[in-house]
């Protein structure tokens, strides 16, 4: 670890100029106290649109998660509806097996409209 006056500094992040050496990352460390669960937040921008993932937050319970999500993610009318879901409750496909997992759809060109050749003069197709 470098001493402070040998510290290397660069413009990382928005406000620039922070040390880049001798900074602990805290990877793999777990907090000693019990912490609030992580929630993923989804916002419906306006009526007619899907809910879209916008980020995450921590909260002690579902209701607080919803209130915090409103304060953090919709300060400028970004949403008309919010979902919060405990991150632990989400099941996801694994990126490592993404090729075999999505293989079944890769070789079925006949599922796309462009697969079919229709004479150009036929309208509305």
């Amino acid at each position: 670890m470098n001493t402070p006056d040998e510290e290397e500094v660069t413009a990382e992040g928005g406000h620039g100029a922070v040390p880049v050496t001798g900074v602990e990352t805290g990877q793999g460390e777990k907090p000693s106290r019990r912490t609030w669960p992580l929630y993923e937040v989804f916002v419906r921008g306006k009526r007619g649109l899907n809910h879209v993932h916008v980020g995450s937050l921590h909260a002690p319970d579902d209701e607080m998660a919803l209130h915090n999500a409103r304060d953090v993610y919709t300060r400028r009318n970004e949403g008309v509806s919010i979902w919060v879901v405990k991150a632990d409750d989400i099941t996801a496909s694994s990126p490592a097996e993404k090729d075999p997992f999505f293989d079944p759809s890769a070789d079925k060109v006949y599922r796309h409209p462009t697969f079919y050749r229709i004479p150009e003069e036929v309208p509305h197709l």
């Binding site: 500094v9 620039g16 100029a17 922070v18 900074v23 002690p60």
Partner: protein, 325 residues
């Protein structure tokens, strides 16, 4: 997070990662990534988040003394945005396998830092305008390219942040315009504040490219898109006409248009001061961290109470379910 695996597998994964970067595509949280990439991002995003959180203090200092209800409401909204930006960034950092609570502890234990700019005090109300104009203006120069950063969650957080920064810069500039059209004393305040913040704002872009070896790797990984000097030049060129419109002089005798380069030449910031401020001997370092610690520790009972309430509600729900069964 990392699991020991045969070397060939690791090489296959690395090839995939390199190909994604070469194609200028995004890396997503559960993708394999080199340890160095992960560490660089954690450090950068965490310290970026800390900068937003600490950044609330110099401006929060003026909320009670803002001269009108309109200015108070604006400043309050701005400081609240900074908190929001910190939250977006902590959320992005967590996708890399660190815990938000841990990051806060590292900040108040000074094991992670924040941007040197927030170690300067806000001495006059004109500083609120100049921070919006110059400090947020410099931040925008740094942040806009980060919207195309190779790490997906960071890039997406930056898009939200950049949308909001525009309000920050414009409210600051408008405040200065009002003062620049005001009394002689108000005009003097704007000039005095510009004189204090100009050089620290230039330093926000970091040391000259030759002294910034870390930047190379970050650029190869598509985390950083422009060099420190490129961004600094862009900022200087943007700021000159804005200063003219305000009728203030930027405190650099070497600042002039270079017709050959089609850009402004400018003087060298005082890098010794810069190093001292980053190393912790800036005017407000100790105060900023102590204040953050006080807020964190003073708020502990609220977090505990919320947890106790959540536990009680969960227990009641459980009992009701049992009774119904």
């Amino acid at each position: 997070m990392s699991v020991a695996m045969p070397e060939t597998d690791e090489r296959v994964l690395e090839t995939g990662f390199d190909a994604t970067i070469a194609a200028d595509q995004r890396i997503e949280p559960r993708d394999w990534m080199p340890e160095g990439y992960r560490k660089t991002l954690i450090r950068q995003i965490a310290q970026h988040a800390h900068s937003e959180i600490i950044g609330m203090q110099p401006e929060g200092n003026w909320i009670l003394r803002a001269p009108s209800l309109r200015r108070k409401a604006i400043l309050l909204a701005k400081v609240q945005d900074e908190a929001g930006h910190g939250m977006y960034l902590y959320a992005a950092a967590e996708t890399l396998g660190v815990d938000r609570e841990e990051l806060t502890e590292k900040l108040i234990d000074s094991k992670q830092k924040y941007s040197s700019i927030f170690n300067y005090p806000t001495l006059s109300y004109a500083d609120i305008g100049v921070i919006g104009w110059l400090v947020d203006g410099a931040a925008i120069c740094n942040q806009v390219p980060l919207c195309r950063c190779s790490y997906g969650p960071y890039a997406r957080a930056m898009i939200r942040i950049c949308k909001e920064e525009s309000f920050h810069q414009r409210q600051g500039y408008e405040l200065l315009l009002a003062m620049a059209n005001g009394t002689d004393e108000q005009k003097r305040m704007v000039q005095e504040s510009t004189d204090r913040w100009w050089w620290p704002s230039l330093m926000m872009f970091g040391p000259p490219d030759g002294d910034s070896p870390n930047s190379q790797q970050s650029m190869a990984w598509n985390i950083k898109r422009h060099t420190n000097d490129e961004l600094r030049q862009r900022f200087v060129d943007m700021s000159v006409p804005q200063a003219e419109a305000l009728g203030v002089t930027l405190p650099d005798p070497e600042l002039r248009w270079n017709d050959e380069r089609k850009a402004h030449d400018y003087g060298e910031p005082d890098w010794e001061e810069f190093k001292a401020v980053v190393a912790g001997s800036g005017p407000a370092n100790a105060q900023r961290v102590a204040h953050r610690r006080r807020a964190h520790e003073g708020g502990a009972w609220v977090r505990e109470a919320a947890q106790a309430y959540a536990d009680k509600q969960a227990a009641r729900k459980n009992e009701a379910r049992k009774a119904a069964a």
